[in-house]
């Protein structure tokens, strides 16, 4: 799924990154627990999370995740945006819950990591 379609489906707002030229989202993983994110072997899923702090982005960097979607109406901090920008990530915000977000993406072909 391309980022512009994801934004349309989830009423998501682009916080940083290049939505038009970003990689296609094939897999997604939802968690508020960064320790779980660090156990993933899969390559570059979309991270859906309600955890909004700088360690969310740092964890994404370590796990080679290039796209982060903050759900439940959570807002990115300036520190998060700066770090995401430094790592060429796309970061988005949606007012939808993690459950609703995951359901919509799954319905439109985005696969789970496991």
């Amino acid at each position: 799924m391309k980022i512009p379609l994801l934004m349309q489906l989830l009423e998501a707002r682009l916080v940083c990154g290049d939505a038009e030229n970003h990689r296609i989202i094939e897999h997604a993983f939802a968690s508020d627990l960064m320790s779980d994110v660090l156990t993933l072997d899969a390559c570059s899923p979309l991270l859906i999370t309600g955890l909004s702090n700088v360690q969310t982005i740092r964890t994404a960097e370590m796990a080679d995740i290039h796209t982060v979607l903050l759900a439940r109406g959570k807002k990115a901090t300036p520190e998060m945006i700066a770090l995401a920008h430094q790592n060429d990530m796309v970061m988005l915000e949606t007012p939808y819950s993690i459950f609703k977000t995951s359901g919509i993406l799954y319905q439109h072909g985005v696969k789970p990591v496991y």
Binding site: S35, T56, R58, E61
Partner: protein
Amino acid sequence: MTFTYEIEGGNFSRAGTASSDIKKALKQLDLDYTIIKRVVVSLYEAEVNIVAHARRGTLTADIDPDRIVMVLDDQGPGIPDIDAAMTAGFSTASSRVREMGFGAGMGLPNIKKNADSLNIQSTVGVGTRLEIVVNF
């Protein structure tokens, strides 16, 4: 090539900066993607552990042609029962650490999973030393 960093306990804004630097250095070496990921995930978990539990610590990473040896020494409470700490789900983390998305008792088991060798020495009331080796 040797890298040394000081790590400040409790400072979550800076947690991961050393791991990030080492990741950038490893990417210059044309190593396999999965090796780099194993190194940085284990290093980041260990770095976050110092920030979460200790007063301060030092991280030294020695990169050789065939492996990386990472030593993390901290001044902190130490680990009373290393076997328990290696059990997935065992945690003594504070609520603040949990709010940052960690403290679920998965750090040390995840380091072990990603490392070729993990050695832990700890003295209660003094500190903990981790030696993590990943072969290239």
